[in-house]
């Protein structure tokens, strides 16, 4: 069955490419699943892998940004004697508990999806979203407390970094909430088609990864802001 399309040289489809990777890994050949033939699950999986890879790549960029801000934090703290740490708003302990819990519920949701338990998947997603919203609320309360004490973004370098880091983390977390909402809306559609299912799992994995990263990032920022001296 030799086919020639727009100058593509004649190829013998029955033969595997000589000298190439005999079993292309999960990364190689992601597009083949869409090519009509070779329709088994592993190809859908490798095509859907782009969402997982893309998320790791995106996290590398986010990590670099917070690394840059951390280095600025350390340099700024050491460069002058005007560094006066603000007192930790107690509500941040609640924040921390909320986001750790939300990571747990999302992980449960992801496992339910793998077990095809749609109803509990949906329920745990809803729970995660609620915890995420509560986290954002607790952060806003912390800001209000500080504003009530007269601590603003320009008050001193530590408060500047506090507002900056919590706001930057918060913006990323809002992105995570949008992603969770997207996952929840998608539960209304049930796909039995192999490719759509593989994509759905991959997207859920990617969102979970992002959320865990935001969880870890918050813990890191919390330690940096209030326990690093």
């Amino acid at each position: 069955m030799a086919t020639t399309v727009t100058g593509t040289k004649t190829i013998n489809k029955g033969k595997s490419p000589v000298g190439g990777p005999r079993f292309p890994g999960g990364n190689g050949g992601g597009s083949r699943g869409r090519n009509g033939h070779d329709g088994d699950m592993s190809h859908f999986e490798s095509s859907a892998n782009r969402y997982r890879i893309g998320m790791w790549v995106a996290l590398a960029a986010i990590l670099m940004m917070f690394t840059a801000l951390t280095s600025a934090y350390i340099v700024r703290a050491a460069s002058s004697n005007d560094w006066r740490p603000i007192a930790m708003p107690q509500i941040l302990l609640l924040s921390t508990a909320l986001i750790v819990a939300s990571s747990g519920t999302l992980e449960l949701a992801r496992r339910k999806l793998k077990e095809a338990a749609e109803v509990s998947y949906h329920r745990w997603l809803l729970m995660t979203t609620a915890l995420g919203v509560a986290f954002v609320g607790s952060q806003l309360l912390a800001w209000r407390q500080l504003v009530g004490q007269g601590v603003y973004v320009g008050s001193n370098p530590h408060s500047s970094f506090f507002y900056l880091l919590t706001a930057t983390h918060g913006v990323h977390l809002l992105g995570g909430l949008i992603a969770l909402t997207y996952l929840r809306l998608r539960t209304r559609r049930t796909e039995r088609d192999g490719q759509a299912l593989a994509k759905r799992h991959a997207v859920a994995d990617a969102v979970t990864l992002y959320w865990h990263f935001m969880d870890g990032l918050w813990i890191y920022l919390f330690l940096l802001l209030f326990f690093w001296r």
Binding site: M1, T3, V5, T6, G7, T8, K9, T10, I11, N12, K13, K15, P17, V18, G19, G20, P21, P24, N27, G28, G29, G30, S31, R32, R34, N35, G36, H37, S46, S47, N49, R50, I53, G54, V57, A58, A60, A61, I62, M64, M65, T67, A68, L69, S71, A72, V75, R76, S79, S80, N81, D82, W83, Y152, V153, G154, P157, S160, L164, T168
Partner: protein
């Protein structure tokens, strides 16, 4: 055949509406062309600014009535003010670095050809791809608007160079050019960062996930390696600039003191004693320099690596020889990218850093010479003994090698602290980075344009006009930048609007005028390029699928390629990218899609001569 109909069902239909097809397109090819068009517009703006600057340097005090009409604030009665000159420096640098040297090589050609060269139908995330272009365009509109927001009456835009050093850039009242224009400058760069990050994310994922069957990593064209490394650099460096930009904006707008030290006087007012200059303490201006250059140095490689990839690709194609030392080339690209993250301090030798840090940065900087030399000698090795076809693309690729050597060699001079201290902020630095980062990258893109134009538009560019364009540009840029080295050694400082006040620089004036005339001639030669580009789209000679007898996947499909690149039939790759002059093969090139079987059937005489005068290329 049933297989074919099955594939036809799975083909992605091309969008039909004008807006989905050409404006908000998800097709990586259209997005690539959009990026190239953005760069072609931005480079016109940047070039015009450089001509205006040269005019002011060579003929100070002359009235240019048109200037007075265009910029009543910056050039009252047609005479340029020094502030206007400085904002031209800023805008020229920013527009050229971000919106030309970063968009065209990566966003433009990378977008168009990376998916085709790895045998993919499109990018991994087409919507993100579209967003990255439109975000970048918004950034460009914002930076253009910065010209028109005058801080003081005499200024027309931000003043601070493309580096925007604090505390000048951090204080809105610090002087002319630090007002609204500077805010817009920072916002524009932040927007650009976001656009670039979306692009980089897409490039990396596409390359890792979407290679076609048989396209192992070591079978990728060197262009793909270059675009991939560039994307990694962008991914890791732009977030740092974004972080720094947010800090700078907070210093300006929210009263923080990240970069503003205490005890500053501003127009005779001490910080904190007057409401016009609120209290700032303890910030570190050097911190901005660290954050900026941690991004700024990799940015240099973001600009030039795609040019290196295109040069390797084109040299091999027109020398009719495999790239000399393919693996070494791949590792050299990686080495340059990696070392690029550890040398940012060489931009800051005069910032008062510890001599020990300076020495470390110096040694690391000089060590970049090693992979650079590997690449240069491999290019020469590729050319050596080849049956060279001197097309315009080939001339520009050879020009790239020449300019890369000429500009890179002074990097070894400036990389040494003892030499950098006197040369810093002189025209020597200007000459160095313009040759190696600016002009060499642009030559890489010219080569890419002449080479890939037939694939993008189905027609060849005019070779006679192309060669005329090459020779004028090639001689022109050397006439511009070689004398600048001399000026720098004499001690002519950068970013000065005029030199009439300096006795020791007066003897250089004829050289300054010469450079300006060369610059104007070179800029005029670009009209030929633009004309050739437009004319060839409609009237150029028709190109077939493979006008250059090249080997990589983009030449296996139609010109221009269909919406899904390979008309629903993904290619299978059997061999490396540069199989030219293979002994015993029927042609002097073997496409990547050619199965091994064919070769063996033809090639009984593997040990014999290859028919082109060589007998050395074994695989």
């Amino acid at each position: 055949m049933s297989g074919e109909t099955h594939e036809a069902v799975h083909r992605h239909p091309a969008p039909t509406g004008f807006i989905r097809k050409y404006i908000f397109s998800l097709d990586h090819k259209v997005i690539g062309i959009q990026y190239i068009m953005l760069a072609l517009v931005a480079v016109l703006v940047g070039m015009t600014m450089s001509v205006l600057m040269r005019m002011n340097l060579s003929w100070p005090g002359t009235n240019w009535p048109i200037l007075g009409t265009l910029f009543p604030g910056g050039a009252p009665d047609g005479m340029m003010t020094p502030e206007f000159y400085l904002s031209l420096v800023t805008m020229h640098g920013t527009i050229m670095v971000f919106f030309v040297l970063t968009t065209a090589p990566q966003g433009g050609f990378g977008n168009y050809f990376l998916p085709i060269q790895i045998g993919a139908e499109d990018m991994a995330f087409p919507v993100l791809n579209m967003l990255s272009f439109w975000v970048t365009l918004v950034g460009f509109i914002v930076i253009l608007s910065a010209i028109f927001f005058s801080g003081a009456d005499s200024t027309v835009g931000p003043i601070g160079g493309w580096t925007g050093y604090a505390p000048l850039s951090a204080l809105p009242n610090a002087g002319p050019g630090q007002g609204m224009g500077m805010n817009l400058w920072i916002i524009s760069i932040a927007i650009f960062c976001v656009g670039s990050l979306l692009g980089a994310l897409n490039f990396i994922t596409t390359l890792l996930n979407m290679r076609t069957r048989g396209m192992s990593l070591m079978r990728m064209p060197l262009t793909c390696w270059a675009w991939f490394t560039t994307a990694v650099l962008a991914l890791l460096s732009f977030p740092v600039l974004l972080g720094g930009g947010i800090l700078l904006l907070l210093d300006r707008l929210a009263g923080t003191s990240f970069f503003i030290p205490g005890g500053l006087y501003l127009s005779g007012i001490l910080s904190g004693t007057d409401e016009r200059f609120p209290l700032h303490t303890g910030g570190s201006p050097i911190l901005w320099q660290h954050l900026f250059w941690f991004f700024g140095h990799p940015e240099v490689y973001i600009a030039i690596l795609p040019g290196m990839g295109a040069t390797s690709h084109i040299l091999s194609t027109f020398a009719r020889k495999p790239v000399f030392g393919y693996r070494a080339m791949v590792f050299a690209i990686f080495a340059i990218g990696l070392l690029g993250f550890f040398v940012w301090g060489h931009h800051m030798f005069i910032s008062g850093m510890s001599p020990y840090s300076a020495m470390t940065f110096s040694i690391l900087t000089l060590s970049i010479g090693v992979p650079s030399a590997v690449k240069t000698f491999n290019w020469l090795g590729t050319l050596w003994g080849g049956r060279i076809r001197f097309t315009t693309a080939m001339l520009f690729a050879i020009g790239f090698v020449s300019l890369f050597v000429a500009g890179g060699i002074t990097g070894l001079v400036l990389g040494q602290t003892s030499l950098d201290l006197p040369m810093h902020d002189t025209y020597f630095v200007t000459a160095h980075f313009h040759l190696v980062m600016g002009v060499a990258s642009i030559f890489g893109m010219f080569a890419a344009t002449y080479f890939w134009f037939p694939k993008m538009f189905g027609r060849l560019m005019n070779e006679s006009l192309g060669k005329f364009h090459f020779w004028i540009t090639f001689i022109g840029v050397y006439c511009i930048f070689v004398p600048m080295h001399t000026m720098g050694i004499v001690g002519m400082p950068r970013r000065f609007a005029q030199f009439t006040e300096y006795e020791y620089l007066k003897t250089l004036h004829p050289l300054v005028v010469f450079v300006s005339i060369a610059a104007i001639a070179t800029v005029l030669a670009q009209i030929v390029f633009y004309f050739n580009l437009l004319w060839s789209i409609f009237k150029g000679k028709r190109a077939g699928e493979n006008p250059w007898d090249a080997t990589t996947l983009e030449w296996t499909t139609a010109s221009p390629p269909p919406h899904d690149n390979f008309a629903g039939h993904l290619p299978v790759v059997y061999r490396g990218p540069y199989e030219f002059a293979v002994p015993g093969a029927a042609n002097d090139f073997v496409m990547q899609t050619e199965p091994e079987v064919i070769l063996q059937a033809v090639g009984s005489g593997r040990e014999g001569t290859s028919g082109n005068g060589h007998d050395g290329h074994r695989h």
